[in-house]
């Protein structure tokens, strides 16, 4: 029972009592360090389980809602139950696994579930509240709901579900202590105190939830939502926050510091003060821990926020600005910066990628994501390995040259020819070493395994040993493969204890300074081995050279980084080992085909390693592809086998004595050979898409993909090649990629745990079966080709197709062969050629990395081609002769000469004139058509007309493809007249002007057709238009044409009633010609008499060339009679410039029969009438031409024989003969149109149809 003084201060008693006196609820809010000691780990575990529950719950809710289509509250209940089950199992086994349970498992489950059901009620309530009332997105709201329930679950479960006897009895003591404490505080009822505490906590939580809800609903910024989600989701509020605090506490206050500073006999504030002092004393360490937390926080932020591409650029620039390279070389500085960018961009890409997985095709999407994840992790691991660190220090405490050295050269079947130079090189190295250290002892031992391997010439090794004066130990009892061989010899010659042992493969020729370089580090008694690089000397063998480049990435780039964190592992050869260290682990492990790698893990728990990147020995690389594949297969099997057997020591915290950095390095090394599966998925996924259209990504588009992928890809490529340049080459990448079949094939062996024999990499060519080894590559290549050919045709232009095609193309480069980049098949071809001439290639030691000539030439050729193209194009454009401006054109009335023309729908634009010419011998001076502003001037059509002496006439409508009425259709507004003069079409008009100007031939041009009627697309009488708009729009457009120099364009003014267009018309000098249209419908009671109508126009425009457009559908008699009236009229009026027949029905949806009815060839009478009209015009023209032609006979064609550009004769216009009854006729004409229009689907169309519309009509 604690004792208190008068002021309530504790005098005696245990800390447990103090703790209880300070907090109302021990289970919920533990506060003192000691309470953290007892609870923090459990809270942490509970929090982690909670996190897993959040994941399960959210995932289940998502699946049930989106794929199961359940109502979200029902789905939330099911999801919560699923999470309850998983949480119970984890909590029971892990969180509360150490409690002494006094209730059965089933009982615990029932209790837990019952408690959690109440929690479920809370969570569903909170979910409904946040979703329905505050409008929070349901997945986010669910996180808050889970958080609310977690508080309840933890508080109650620790009391009822997993309470153990010790705690129960302690609780009783606690209660006693509490009573005494409360008594001292004059609080009589503990119930009151607890209720108060619970209420306070409730208020606190309420405040937290409300503020978070406000943040979400007020939408102050996305990142705050992310922060809220992070706090609520990732840390499982508030238990998670408490757990997170505990983690921070433990990180910042080191356990030993906390223990030192906390004295249980001291009051809390004293302990706190001591803690602050201790923290300040260890501020550097604290700063480092804070830095670690900040980095983790930043990574979490990237994961949650998934910022855009800016963040990668920002990382680079800010990194450059903030770096202070006092201790760094430029190379290291750049490496650091690139590593930071790679880190940010890869985390960003991978987390984004997780969110766009196409779950509906999970069978390809998930493997692809996992493959990318593996690639991303290795990219990160690569940068982590290369991060500049201090070189390992050697604490020289002894003279290593006093130790005996045994050089072991294991051999099986290499033969004396291979072994001889190796032994001689070892002898040379011994000699040089002994020259420097005469007191030294170096013994060379050939470990002969030929006998147990049934190698026929196994005695060659013994003979050679005798010749050269070295020891040979021949095993007679097998087992343990290479490790067993070495171990056998080691124990035979007594290389144990204080000895150092060197291992050389049979083909590794040591430099004479090998021992001089590798032995000194053993002055530090903590060094267990010194590893050197493994380089090949037979580089004139293509396979060996490519393999050497692959090796270089490891030995020249990665190993120094691994060594910096004491994670350089034994590579089996060119290594010096401390025998004592091996003794400690029982010698080289003999249960692995990569005994070196397995031994390293065992040794690294206590010993240190050194790596020397210098070329201290060279050996023979694989002589052919089959040997290479076998070597890769052995390494993969061994390494993955180690992963299988040692995964706990690598991945599980607290298991084994490896440091974090060593775990990272071993994890990277172990998982490296999973790249075979990764590469296979990389091959399959894009081909699957190209052939089936099944995507692995959903909810994204090409720009978004590139925004995330490009920074990641570019940064990782630049970072890799920056450090690998001059050390490795693309050949290394290619051959590594090409080994995917063998890496995959060894997976079953590893998974099933099958034992495999140690296969020595052959040092001579085997039977030439290269193509058999490359069969998977050929199949993959064929799949890629098929994918590209068929797939691209199917999905051409789609974003995923572009990405997939590029991807497949890259794969094909790796697989196949190009001029610039050799692929696997290219290597196979070379290997095959070497096989045919085997034995001719000399073996020379050239460890330098060379860039292939083909690569240089290829890249050079591509670059040169690009440069030539760019420069050439620019030069041609710059020096191209400038075309002179077109000759100005304005139609002038040539005396008595009237042109015959046609206006045609787009469908018959190219065929009809030829048909008519063939059938009736007609040629036309003008061919007209209607186009919209979005179209382009049909230069091909116009050129075709020019070749026959015909001039084009374009009627332009300011119409968009979609003119459906309604305020939602903003595009429809653009056809208004204010749109034109306010400049909305200026760009298009300029384009039209330029295109017409560049045609350089005369063009007739009409816009604002019938703007004085309500059916016009750009009407000046309806839809907001006013008559004054017409002239403004006309002049605005004409000014644009003039400014662009389109002087070859004649502007044809075409109101529906040109005789009475004063309100609408621009000034006469802005008009080059006037059009009068006569469109006569068959059911019109009266057709207008052309003579008075045309006279009215000539009265209105006495000096203006007049174009008369006619079209009619009716009985043959009526039509022919009317056409004859037209003929009479146009030959009478002297300013008639052209007569054009409008072919085809004015209806937008006309049938062929309707079109035929509107043609002048609809019947014999009409045809004859038209031909008579032509003859009439022809006679008039002939007379005039004959009278003017100085020589020769004029060609009897209808059309402008004299170009108006050449002959600008003064017009002899017929004066008006009197005022006709224009108003009546005008009304009649309008009315007849309107009657027709009522039946039209698009009344705004007069008779000019856009190409698009016509095409649409044809389609229908």
């Amino acid at each position: 029972m604690p004792q208190f003084d008068d002021q309530g201060e504790r005098l005696t008693g245990d800390v447990e009592d103090l703790r209880v006196s300070l907090v109302p609820s021990r289970a919920i809010v533990p506060t003192t360090p000691r309470m953290w000691e007892s609870h923090s780990s459990r809270i942490l575990r509970f929090g982690l389980v909670g996190v897993s529950g959040v994941v399960v719950n959210t995932g289940a809710l998502y699946v049930l809602t989106n794929f199961g289509h359940l109502f979200y509250l029902l789905a939330a209940i099911i999801a919560t139950e699923v999470a309850i089950v998983t949480n119970f199992i984890l909590n029971d086994r892990w969180t509360f696994g150490d409690t002494h349970r006094h209730v059965a498992w089933a009982q615990r489950f029932v209790r837990y579930n019952a408690i959690c059901v109440v929690g479920m009620g809370i969570s569903v309530g909170v979910l409904a509240l946040l979703t329905s009332v505050f409008g929070v997105y349901y997945l986010v709201a669910n996180l808050f709901a889970i958080a609310a329930a977690t508080v309840w679950n933890y508080a109650i479960n620790t009391r009822f579900t997993w309470i153990d006897r010790a705690v129960a009895s302690a609780d009783r003591g606690v209660r006693e202590g509490l009573r005494g404490r409360l008594k001292a505080w004059h609080v009589t009822s503990p119930v009151v105190a607890r209720c108060t505490a619970v209420a306070l906590i409730g208020v606190l939580l309420g405040a937290v939830f409300l503020s978070l809800a406000w943040i979400l609903t007020a939408n102050p910024g996305t990142w705050t939502v992310h922060a809220a989600v992070f706090l609520a989701g990732a840390h499982d509020t508030p238990t998670g926050i408490a757990a997170g605090t505990a983690v921070l506490w433990r990180h910042i206050v080191q356990p030993d510091t906390a223990r030192k500073t906390h004295n249980e006999d001291e009051p809390l504030f004293v302990a706190l003060r001591r803690f602050v002092e201790a923290t300040y004393a260890a501020r550097a360490k604290v700063a480092s821990q804070i830095a670690r937390v900040v980095i983790i926080g930043a990574v979490l932020w990237i994961i949650l926020a998934q910022p855009n591409a800016w963040v990668a650029l920002g990382t680079l620039i800010l990194g450059v600005a903030l770096i202070t390279p006092a201790h760094l070389s430029r190379r290291q500085t750049v490496t650091v910066l690139l590593a930071a960018v790679v880190g940010v961009s890869s985390v960003n890409y991978l987390t984004w990628r997780l969110g766009v997985i196409n779950w509906s095709s999970w069978w390809i999407a998930v493997p692809l994501f996992l493959a990318e994840l593996l690639g991303g992790l290795h990219t990160l691991g690569f940068q982590y390995t290369l991060w500049p660190r201090r070189a390992p220090e050697i604490d020289a405490q002894e003279d290593p040259t006093l130790r005996p050295i045994f050089v072991f050269v294991p051999t099986v079947n290499e033969g004396a020819a291979i072994l001889d130079p190796t032994i001689r090189a070892a002898l040379a190295a011994r000699k040089k070493y002994l020259e420097a250290h005469p007191h030294g002892h170096v013994e060379i031992v050939i470990c002969n395994d030929g006998f147990v391997a049934n190698y026929p010439q196994w005695r060659e090794a013994e003979t050679l040993a005798q010749e050269l004066g070295v020891t040979c130990v021949t095993r007679t009892i097998g087992g343990g493969a290479k490790a067993g061989n070495i171990e056998s010899a080691r124990h035979f010659v007594g290389a144990t204890g204080d000895a150092l042992m060197v291992i050389f493969d049979a083909d590794q020729i040591a430099r004479d300074n090998f021992l001089l370089e590798t032995v000194p580090p053993f002055a530090d008694p903590t060094i267990a081995w010194v590893q050197t690089g493994q380089y090949y000397s037979n580089l004139d063998n293509p396979v060996a050279r490519w393999a050497n480049d692959q090796q270089a990435i490891f030995y020249r780039v990665l190993c120094p980084g691994k060594a910096a964190v004491n994670a350089a592992f034994i590579c089996g050869t060119n290594v010096v080992l401390r025998a004592a260290a091996l003794d400690e682990i029982g010698g080289l492990p003999q249960d692995s085909v990569t005994e070196d790698f397995a031994a390293s893990i065992n040794l690294h728990e206590r010993w240190r390693s050194i790596y020397l990147p210098d070329v201290l020995a060279t050996g023979l690389g694989p002589m052919d592809l089959r040997s290479y594949f076998r070597q890769q297969g052995r390494w993969a099997t061994g390494t993955l086998g180690v992963l299988r057997s040692h995964w706990q020591r690598i991945f599980m915290p607290g298991r084994g004595g490896l440091t974090f950095n060593q775990r990272v390095q071993y994890a990277l090394a172990c998982t490296h050979y999973l790249s075979g599966v990764r590469d296979l998925i990389y091959i399959i996924a894009p081909v699957v898409f190209l052939l089936t259209g099944i995507t692995s990504v959903r909810g994204s588009n090409l720009p978004t993909f590139l925004q995330y992928f490009l920074p990641y890809w570019l940064a990782s490529q630049v970072a890799f090649w920056y450090v690998a340049w001059g050390k490795a080459s693309l050949r290394g990448i290619v051959i590594g990629f090409g080994s995917f079949p063998v890496l995959i094939s060894c997976l079953p062996t590893v998974i099933l745990g099958r034992k495999v024999g140690f296969a020595v990499t052959s040092k001579r060519r085997e039977n030439d079966q290269t193509w058999r080894a490359l069969l998977p590559h050929i199949v993959a290549m064929a799949a890629c080709v098929i994918g590209v050919v068929f797939g691209f045709a199917l999905h051409a232009g789609r974003g995923p197709a572009i990405v997939s095609t590029l991807w497949v193309a890259y794969t094909m480069i790796l697989l196949g062969s190009t001029i610039a980049l050799g692929g696997m098949l290219w290597l196979g071809l070379r290997d095959w050629r070497v096989g045919r001439g085997a034995g001719r290639a000399p073996r020379t030691a050239r460890p330098q990395i060379r860039t292939s000539l083909a690569s240089r030439v290829g890249f050079g050729a591509v670059a040169a081609l690009l440069i030539v193209t760019i420069v050439g194009t620019s030069t041609i454009q710059a020096f191209a002769p400038r075309t002179p401006p077109p000759v100005a054109f304005a139609p002038r009335q040539e005396t008595g000469v009237a042109n015959l023309g046609l206006t045609l729908p787009t469908s018959s634009l190219r065929t009809k004139p030829a048909t008519l010419a063939q059938d009736y011998g007609l040629t036309f001076g003008i061919i007209g058509r209607t186009q919209t502003i979005g179209d382009t001037f049909d230069r091909a059509w116009a050129d075709g007309l020019s070749s026959t002496g015909t001039r084009p006439w374009v009627t332009l409508e300011f119409d968009t493809a979609d003119t459906a009425a309604g305020p939602e259709n903003l595009a429809a507004l653009e056809s208004s007249l204010p749109s034109i003069y306010n400049g909305l079409h200026d760009e298009a008009l300029r384009r039209w002007a330029r295109e017409m100007r560049d045609y350089r031939q005369p063009v007739y041009f009409t816009m604002l057709l019938h703007m004085d009627r309500d059916w016009s697309v750009s009407s000046a009488v309806t839809r907001g238009g006013i008559p004054q708009d017409s002239a403004r729009a006309w002049q605005h457009a004409r000014a644009i044409f003039r400014s662009e120099g389109a002087t070859n364009v004649a502007w044809v003014w075409a109101p529906a009633d040109p005789a009475h267009d004063q309100e609408y018309a621009p000034p006469p000098d802005a008009i080059d010609a006037v059009l009068r249209s006569f469109i006569n419908f068959p059911d019109d009671r009266e057709w207008p008499d052309p003579m008075p109508a045309l006279r009215e126009v000539t009265t209105r425009y006495p000096d203006m060339p007049l174009l008369v457009e006619v079209s009619a559908a009716g009985t043959p008699e009526r039509k022919s009679a009317w056409l004859r009236q037209v003929g009479a009229a146009v030959t009478t009026l002297r300013n008639t410039y052209a007569v054009l027949y409008k072919e085809g029905s004015p209806s937008l949806h006309a049938t062929e029969a309707e079109d035929a009815a509107w043609s002048f060839t609809s019947d014999a009478l009409s045809t004859q009438a038209t031909l008579d009209l032509v003859s009439l015009l022809q006679r008039s023209m002939k007379r005039e031409v004959v009278s003017r032609s100085p020589v020769g006979t004029p060609t009897p064609t209808i059309g402008p024989l004299h170009s108006p550009m050449q002959t600008a004769l003064p017009a002899r216009m017929e004066q008006p003969r009197g005022k006709a009854n224009g108003s009546r006729r005008r009304r009649r004409n309008v009315r007849s149109y309107r009657v027709r229009r009522r039946d039209r689907s698009r009344p705004t169309r007069a008779f000019g149809c856009s190409q698009a519309t016509m095409a649409q009509t044809e389609g229908q």
């Binding site: 943040i215 830095a291 926020a305 800016w310 963040v311 903030l322 305020p967 507004l973 204010p978 006013i1026």
Partner: protein, 507 residues
């Protein structure tokens, strides 16, 4: 005979200039990043931008082109002197449009960053200066202001320059720089009246630092000189244009909250806007060893002023802009903290602490970019609306009622006159036969009933209440027809639609 060796003057070769360039290379990189991000922000003109530029053009025309005087008494409701920023921006707008005007603001914010750099360098050293400039330049408000053609950026630049000048004035041999400081402070305050808030802080820094360097007498003398210069300039300005006082009172000193929020809400908003930088600044204050604690306290206190002002006045409008003033003062302290965190340990390679510092910057940069984009899309993109209006507009003869007319008026000033535009803030209509004028809703209703407006654009945004009261006469179809619905998506108030009505009959 005496031989005099003449030493050739040292030429400023590239080799000589290179080390200097390398020293300021970090700052140049930071400025480049700031510029790039700011320039990536896209939206049509904000209402205030359009108003200031429109007014600025009028002032420019009046002063330099012999045009008519400005049509409104802008000084009575502008939050800065119309003859400074609007005039400058208007002049740029004349020659280069909105982008040119916004470029002035970007340049101003770059100057502010440079000021931060040199202030921090003067107080804490070069590593802190780089970190301070980096931290300041990546704030969302700073990035945003570099792209918003309003007073704030130029005023911040003046405040930054004034702070820098103050540090120079405090250490110089003569008190004359204090005169320039007074001018600079006046320029900051005249550009935007809220700049006056920081004059005491800067004068305090001057006093404290001069006291340290030259003693009490010089401190009083130089501070007094700066104050006198300011007072003289203020007096002169008020004598020239007394209406400035009205503007100052209306927009700043006696401002009535335009968009009032509760103080806790504003506090949370302030924390979200500038919390990380202020926290870093507080750490920098605590670990400060290189400069006087009092001076650091003044810096830190000044950084809190804008937030405190908004929380006090319960005004939410422009808070995201004003906090940038405070960041100017917090950044040197924050830079000090960051530099200390990232400082290399002796004999060690670059490691965890540097990476942590970079991580802080990257997170702040990421959130800053995102927030700047959010700020920049707080108002609707008006390009489609302007496009639609151009399909209907007859310049010189139209009368257009737009809920917020400033933006379309700015974009269509090539084809319309200012008197063609009406908004929902104020309207007077003479409808009564007796000549009695109508105001407010009644005036709008009467004008709509008369078909007074040719076009009416409503969006039910900030003036939703008035719009709802008057839209009956528009929607009944008697005089007006709905011709377009122009949707917009990203604003601080969520998505919405512009409803464009046209007078029936087309006139």
């Amino acid at each position: 005979m005496t031989t005099i060796s003449v030493r050739a003057p040292r030429r400023r070769t590239f080799a000589v200039a290179l080390p200097r360039l390398r020293r300021i290379a970090p700052l140049l990189l930071i400025l480049a990043l700031q510029s790039a991000v700011s320039l990536s922000l896209r939206n049509t003109a904000y209402q205030d931008e359009a108003l200031y530029l429109f007014a600025g053009r009028q002032y420019f025309d009046y002063y330099f082109r012999g045009g008519p005087p400005p049509t409104e008494f802008y000084a009575t409701y502008f939050s800065g002197l119309p003859q400074i920023y609007p005039l400058l921006a208007g002049a740029l707008d004349v020659f280069g449009g909105l982008e040119a005007a916004r470029f002035l603001n970007l340049a101003s914010m770059l100057i502010a960053t440079i000021s931060v750099y040199f202030v921090a360098k003067s107080l804490f050293g070069r590593p802190s200066a780089v970190a301070a400039a980096a931290l300041f330049s990546i704030q969302g408000s700073v990035l945003f202001l570099g792209r918003l053609a309003t007073y704030d950026a130029l005023s911040i630049a003046f405040v930054g320059l004034a702070t820098l000048l103050c540090l120079r004035a405090s250490t110089s041999r003569t008190p004359l720089p204090a005169l320039a400081l007074g001018v600079m402070l006046m320029a900051a305050a005249a550009t935007k009246y809220v700049g006056l808030l920081f004059a005491p802080s800067i004068l305090a820094i001057l006093a404290i630092r001069t006291w340290q360097y030259h003693g009490r007498r010089q401190a009083i003398q130089r501070t007094g000189l700066a104050i006198c210069t300011m007072v003289a300039l203020v007096g002169g300005l008020l004598a020239v244009d007394p209406s400035l006082l009205a503007g100052l009172a209306f927009t700043t000193t006696q401002r009535v909250a335009f968009l009032s929020l509760s103080r806790p809400e504003l506090f949370v908003r302030a924390v979200l806007l500038c919390g990380p930088l202020v926290v870093l600044g507080a750490i920098g204050l605590l670990i400060n060893r290189t400069t006087s604690l009092l001076l650091a306290l003044v810096l830190f206190g000044s950084s809190l002023l804008p937030s405190a002002y908004h929380i006090y006045s319960t005004e939410a409008v422009s808070m995201e802009k004003h906090v940038a003033f405070g960041m100017l003062f917090a950044a040197p302290l924050a830079g000090n903290a960051l530099a200390r965190l990232m400082a290399e340990q002796r004999g060690r390679f670059i490691g965890m602490r540097w990476l942590a510092g970079l991580a802080i910057c990257v997170v702040l940069f990421g959130t800053g970019v995102e927030r700047a984009h959010t700020f920049m899309t707080n108002w609707p993109d008006n390009s489609t609306l302007v496009h639609v209006l151009r399909t209907q507009m007859r310049g010189g003869v139209s009368r257009i009622l737009v809920e917020e007319s400033e933006v379309p008026r700015y974009y269509m000033q090539d084809m319309t006159y200012y008197w063609e535009w009406f908004n929902l803030y104020f309207f007077e209509y003479r409808d009564d036969p007796k000549g009695r004028g109508l105001h407010g809703v009644e005036a709008y209703k009467a004008a709509i009933d008369d078909g007074y407006f040719d076009l009416i654009v409503l969006r039910y945004g900030f003036s939703k209440k008035i719009a709802e009261e008057i839209d009956g006469g528009v929607r009944d179809g008697t005089h007006y027809e709905l011709v377009a619905k122009v949707p917009y998506t990203t604003t601080s108030f969520g998505p919405g639609t512009y409803y464009v009505y046209r007078k029936r009959g087309g006139t």
